[in-house]
């Protein structure tokens, strides 16, 4: 599939350290795609709906979102809710990567339409491994083009 455009990754994560570690490990997994970072839910929404500081800029397509749940202003769940309620953004794949492992939270996110829910392992080897697998997944997954 040589004609496919490379996927841009939007990393919505309020913890800079986490964000950096995720990026590092994605790079280690040979993910060379563009990685854009936002640090709260509102920024993610602004980015997706071309508003606020992203006014006038349409988000790159195809796009995949790595979304943290516990973020200030708007949390990940609210971002997910708004995305899935809007025709323009509802097909964008969402991978939730969070410290929560509460079963109800997991269920709720899948109900809202998230594609994958991953709990961040505290153990760094496992964390690295998890992000590496996400990288592998990203490299093979078919992602719809928003056009």
């Amino acid at each position: 599939m040589p004609d496919r455009r490379p996927v841009t990754i939007l990393l919505a994560e309020d913890d800079e350290g986490h964000s950096r570690l995720i990026e590092k490990n994605l790079r280690r997994a040979n993910i060379t795609n563009d990685i854009l970072k936002v640090s709260d839910g509102q920024q993610a929404i602004d980015f997706l709906f071309s508003q606020g500081e992203y006014a006038g800029r349409k988000f790159p397509s195809p796009l995949l979102i790595l979304l943290d749940l516990n973020m200030p202003v708007l949390d990940g769940r609210q971002v997910l809710e708004r995305m899935k309620a809007d025709e323009r953004t509802r097909r964008i794949p969402v991978i939730i990567l969070t410290t929560t492992e509460d079963g109800r939270e997991v269920q709720k996110c899948y109900d809202l339409g998230c594609n994958i829910f991953i709990t961040k392992p505290v153990d760094y080897d496992q964390f690295t491994e998890a992000v590496r697998k996400i990288g592998l997944f990203i490299s093979i997954v078919q992602i719809p083009d928003a056009g």
């Binding site: 913890d15 350290g17 986490h18 570690l21 590092k24 516990n70 410290t99 929560t100 509460d102 961040k120 505290v122 153990d123 760094y124 080897d125 964390f127 690295t128």
Partner: protein, 488 residues
């Protein structure tokens, strides 16, 4: 005070009158005889004889009639006297009853005029009987009832449709001073021939009314207070549940960084190791030695400590998280067979039981209402502990039993293990606390979970132990656990 009518007296002929009557009859006979004898009749004549017989005959008849009358009147007299006595006795009794009655008794006639008014009624209405006898009972009623009462009575007498006859009810009444108060009133009708009276029995319920009102107010106040307190408690409880969850969740985030960047640091060091290894040679002996020590020992040691501490912190946080989940999980109360449950737990511990050659005894255990998961966790922890903390080199014995005690079952898990020191008894149920020899891995959370679960089940847990010879844990659980709503 009681009756308006004067007491009745029977006017009857007494003995003296009867005696005088008898004497007059005899005297009249004797007189007739004497007159006949003194008369100028020829004693041998037929007329004389006839007259004599007639007089005798008439006298006998009058005498007989008189005797019969006397006998009858004496009998009648006796009977009347007896009746009068009885009547008097009854009346005295009735008065005694009425005057000692706690309730007011008021008799009125068909026109509403008060016929009798007992002591209690005097006390209740503050009228003396003299003031009220012969007056309308309306005096005792406030408006508008006073005005309507005559109408009620008239209607009842005409149509027989009762408003109050035969039914007790609460009404308002009026004292002499005009104050209005509540009474219980029961009215019955008293029919004698064509006559009809009404008896009203009255009880002052002012105090009861006041108490009812006060009670109602107090109850409302209490309800509001209980409601507020419940709401506060529920909010506090909810907050506490969320607190543990949020804390453990938010504490985790920085740990990911600590661990992550410690890992990055290690990797970093590894990646420059070939270059670093050449550095000491360039630095000379003393500085080179320092460099080597830092690079080979101190930095890796620091990283090891960071990693092990982070790992431990993560385990502790997971433990708190688990405890908070236990608090948050909804209980699903259903019948649970404890004997099956305990046997299953022992089956899952078979490996340990065989390894330590533990002798297991399970007594008769009841079936009870409970949350099966919670009960499994409670007994799972206690049984695992009893085996894990056995004394090495002594054949282990674990015994489980239960007793019914009122509305609860008291379970015990008894072992002949190492026991718990007296000074440690207080802390064994606390989180992260572990007692005795630390040769079994764990976070010190097992008994904290157990205690939380037992408490949520509405039960109690305690323990008896002797260091070196064994421990018995007791768990008292209600036969029917309350639901959370009932608790609230």
């Amino acid at each position: 005070m009681l009756e308006k009518t004067s007491s009745q007296k029977m006017e009857l002929p007494d003995r003296a009158i009867l005696t005088m009557g008898g004497l007059s009859v005899v005297l009249a006979g004797v007189l007739a005889w004497w007159i006949l004898n003194e008369s100028q009749f020829d004693r041998a004549s037929a007329d004389y004889r006839t007259a004599r017989w007639l007089i005798l005959f008439a006298f006998s008849i009058v005498l007989a009639l008189f005797l019969a009358f006397s006998a009858l009147s004496i009998r009648a007299n006796r009977r009347t006297k007896r009746l009068a006595q009885e009547f008097h006795k009854n009346e005295t009794r009735l008065r005694a009853v009425m005057d000692t009655a706690v309730d007011g008794m008021i008799m009125i006639n068909r026109r509403g005029i008060v016929q009798s008014f007992n002591h209690a009624a005097e006390r209740i209405f503050h009228y003396s009987a003299d003031e009220i006898l012969g007056h309308s009972v309306n005096m005792l009623m406030p408006e508008p009832y006073a005005g309507e009462h005559d109408g009620y009575m008239e209607r009842y007498l005409r149509s027989g449709d009762p408003r109050i006859i035969g039914i007790g009810r609460e009404v308002t009444a009026k004292r002499k001073d005009g104050s209005i108060f509540s009474i219980d009133l029961a009215v019955s009708e008293v029919r004698h021939g064509e006559e009809i009276d009404f008896l009203g029995i009255v009880r002052d319920i002012t105090v009861r009314k006041q108490m009812e009102t006060a009670l109602l107010a107090a109850r409302e106040k209490l309800e509001v207070r209980v409601e507020n307190r419940t709401r506060e408690l529920m909010a506090a409880n909810e907050e506490l549940k969320n607190f543990a969850y949020i804390v453990s969740h938010d504490l985790r985030s920085p740990l990911v960084n600590l661990k992550g960047f410690a890992g990055e640091l290690s990797q970093c060091l590894e990646s420059i190791r070939p270059s670093l290894e050449r550095v000491p040679q360039l630095l000379g002996e003393e500085e080179g030695g320092k460099f080597s020590a830092a690079f080979e020992q101190e930095i890796p040691e620091a990283l090891t400590f960071i990693n092990s501490s982070v790992a431990r912190m993560d385990r502790l946080i997971s433990a708190v998280l688990r405890l908070s989940r236990i608090g948050r999980r909804e209980f699903d109360v259903q019948p649970v067979n404890l004997e099956d449950l305990v046997n299953k737990i022992f089956e899952s511990l078979t490996h340990l039981v065989q390894q330590r050659s533990v002798q297991v005894a399970v007594g008769a255990l009841p079936e009870m209402m409970g949350d099966p998961i919670a009960l499994e966790q409670i007994f799972g922890n206690l049984l695992a502990n009893s085996i894990l903390y056995l004394e090495h080199g002594r054949p282990g014995k674990v015994e489980v039993g239960a007793e019914s005690n009122g509305n609860e079952y008291v379970f015990h898990v008894r072992d002949n293990g190492r026991g718990i020191a007296r000074e440690d008894m207080g802390k064994i149920f606390d989180i992260f606390r572990r007692a005795g020899r630390q040769d079994v891995p764990g976070e010190g959370m097992g008994l904290a979970y157990v205690k939380t679960l037992v408490l949520r089940h509405g039960g109690r847990i305690w323990c008896e132990s002797e260091l070196g010879s064994g421990t018995t844990f007791f768990v008292a659980l209600p036969k029917r656990p309350k639901t959370e709503e009932e608790e609230g």
